[in-house]
Symmetry: C2
């Protein structure tokens, strides 16, 4: 199992890619490597990579190449997200899809061609590095498709599917934020998360209402990522499909400072016992610097290292737990009982709200977990898989 960190450059945040310094990256990767982590996820901003539809900024591409080379010095593998798009509350759409040039990035053929051109360019330049892991389409780009985005580009689920199939002819994976799983009428669907791309990608954030509703030290918080992993597994078309917990973090705005290391440990241990988990990539390497203003409060304190580069108690605990998990790989949790999600003929849940915090599937799963039963989750349509469980629960 792989353990890594989402790389948020110290001091400069993702503006590093517009003001690159390879020694800055070297120092940050040294930090990350010191925790025993084995990979980083890089998130260059879209306009910095592709200021014009037909023009890749070779300087940014070269900065990525240099970073991958430096990562090799520390035995770190590297994953890259192509289309940011969005990062930490800020949108970074290039000028050629906004304002006078507004284009729906999921529907406009020129925009889609440009996105594929960018992904191809990344592949051409980065693909040859031995420590290159692959390309995720973009960070939670599904958020642009509907509310609560303030200026959405509306699409249907069919259009989301077509777009994903198109860009995934070039990219390896795609990453949705949890609206795809939890929000009824969201154009991106759980089945898309679980069936398109080489892995099912999970972003687990307990500031989605879980910590607020159940309390910072609840079972619901410490098992949220495990629940999401099992939830996305329910929608997989093949039982052995890999799942990547690509983002999980400890939001200090809804947790308690003193218990954050425990939250991290419980999250790592419960997730690591899930079947077919490719890896866990913690969000994030370094706190956003207080010199950069206007970020939501939570973004300033998610790092394993603080803005001065000092290891935080969170980072220290993760180092310790990762070392232990590497030394003593945990057994996969047996799941003999399955909660059944009622789905329609497209495997769309009849209620995604039932899967979300506060919903009956979520609550039942957590209740069983608190009783020492580790439930699987399965679709009402998946008759073959349903036969493999000792017990199925329809609620």
């Amino acid at each position: 199992m792989r353990f890594g960190a989402n790389y948020i450059p110290s001091g400069k945040w993702s503006f590093l890619w517009e003001d690159f310094d390879v020694n800055h990256v070297r120092s940050d990767f040294d930090d990350i490597s010191s925790l025993g982590l084995d990979h980083v996820r890089l998130l260059p901003l879209w306009p910095a990579l592709q200021p014009n539809r037909s023009h890749i900024n070779m300087r940014t591409l070269d900065s990525l190449c240099q970073s991958i080379e430096v990562a090799k010095e520390f035995d770190l593998d590297v994953s890259v997200d192509a289309i940011q798009g969005h990062l930490s509350s800020f949108d970074f759409l290039p000028s050629w899809v906004t304002s006078w040039h507004r284009k729906n990035i999921f529907l406009d053929s020129e925009a889609i061609d440009a996105e594929k051109y960018l992904i191809d360019a990344l592949r051409n330049y980065l693909g040859a590095f031995s420590n290159f892991l692959g390309i995720t389409v973009g960070n939670e780009i599904n958020q642009f498709s509907g509310p609560p985005h303030p200026d959405p580009m509306p699409i249907s689920s069919t259009q989301a599917q077509a777009w994903l199939e198109d860009v995934l002819t070039r990219a390896d994976d795609h990453a949705c934020y949890d609206a795809a799983l939890y929000q009824d009428d969201h154009p991106f669907t759980p089945a898309q998360c679980a069936r398109l791309g080489s892995k099912s990608i999970v972003h687990s954030w307990v500031f989605n209402g879980t910590a607020q509703e159940y309390g910072p030290n609840s079972i619901e918080v410490s098992h949220h990522s495990e629940y999401m992993i099992e939830l996305v597994r329910a929608f997989s078309s093949t039982p052995d499909r890999s799942i990547w917990l690509q983002e999980v973090g400890a939001p200090t705005t809804v947790l308690e400072a003193g218990t954050i290391p425990n939250f991290a440990e419980e999250t790592l241990r419960s997730s690591a016992r899930c079947a077919n988990l490719w890896g866990i990539t913690w969000w994030c390497s370094h706190d956003v610097s207080r010199k950069l203003v206007g970020f939501p409060e939570v973004e300033y304190s998610l790092g394993l290292f603080d803005e001065d580069g000092s290891l935080k108690p969170l980072g220290a605990r993760i180092k310790q737990v990762v070392a232990d998990l590497r030394l003593n790989p945990p057994p996969v949790t047996a799941r003999n009982v399955a909660l059944i999600i009622p789905v329609d003929h497209n495997d769309l849940p009849l209620s995604r709200a039932a899967l979300a915090p506060g919903g009956r599937i979520f609550d039942t799963w957590m209740k069983l977990t608190s009783q020492g039963i580790s439930p699987a989750i399965a679709l009402s349509s998946d008759t073959e898989r349903l036969r493999t469980f000792e017990e199925t629960i329809h609620i």
Copy 2:
């Protein structure tokens, strides 16, 4: 009188500032200097300078410094626009004023503080260069204040005035596109153009309807910049205030290729005979490369040099006319007849449409010009100045 060019970097357009190469600038400045021009106007993009409200990208600032140093090698002076904002149909608002972080750039106190922070940073780093001319607030930033912008940030004229007075405590000048003069209800006013900042700045573009309405070889086209200079003079509070024709270009989409050098010569010669004209800065140095897609057609052919760096007939004629105007400075055109603009108690025209192409002030001025009379323009409120004319015409 000064003659210069708006610097559009060959090949890379303003994306040069995110992918800087000093030798690229050196080569371009060599081109510009070969025409006998004495200054350039630089237009770095806002997000490349200030990716976060509190953070200046020092790499971009350093690129500007290097460019000013290189300009010195060619005896070129340099003017810099701070807030682009907008350039050649593309908007470049930073992420901290858009989408989830939407702020009205004219009203929000945090945004205004950031704008002043940027202007101060430019002044601190660029101000010491002996060939530095000064800072214009930003390129036609007034366009964000109302229609036809697709996503305007509405303000009143009083708010526009307050914003200009505030940012002009730091910047030298401000530049409006012609809606300020021609469009009724546009928040930015002619008086603001003519009274705030160290100079009155004119951007003259005959694709505003003039060429379409009157024909490419009309008096209205060849004297459009002269008219705008006299129009903005009417609103000046002091008779000797400098006027800068900061943008004028030859749009191939509405002119005829064969007559463009003549258009340029007539524009230069008629404008150069206007009183108190500080200088003329042609738009632009180099054609936008066809490798960059999605620009309006007109933007690909405005350069004095083509995208391969070859001098165009337009550039050759400008070189020749500038040399002649330097050798034989033309006398200022005498203007004994004044057209009177009816204004209210705030010196706002009762009709700005009357000043625009197709309006009665515009048409009368052009008719007199075609008869060999060069009219001045004056405000109905400006009793002192009105006395200086032999004849005043109220229409």
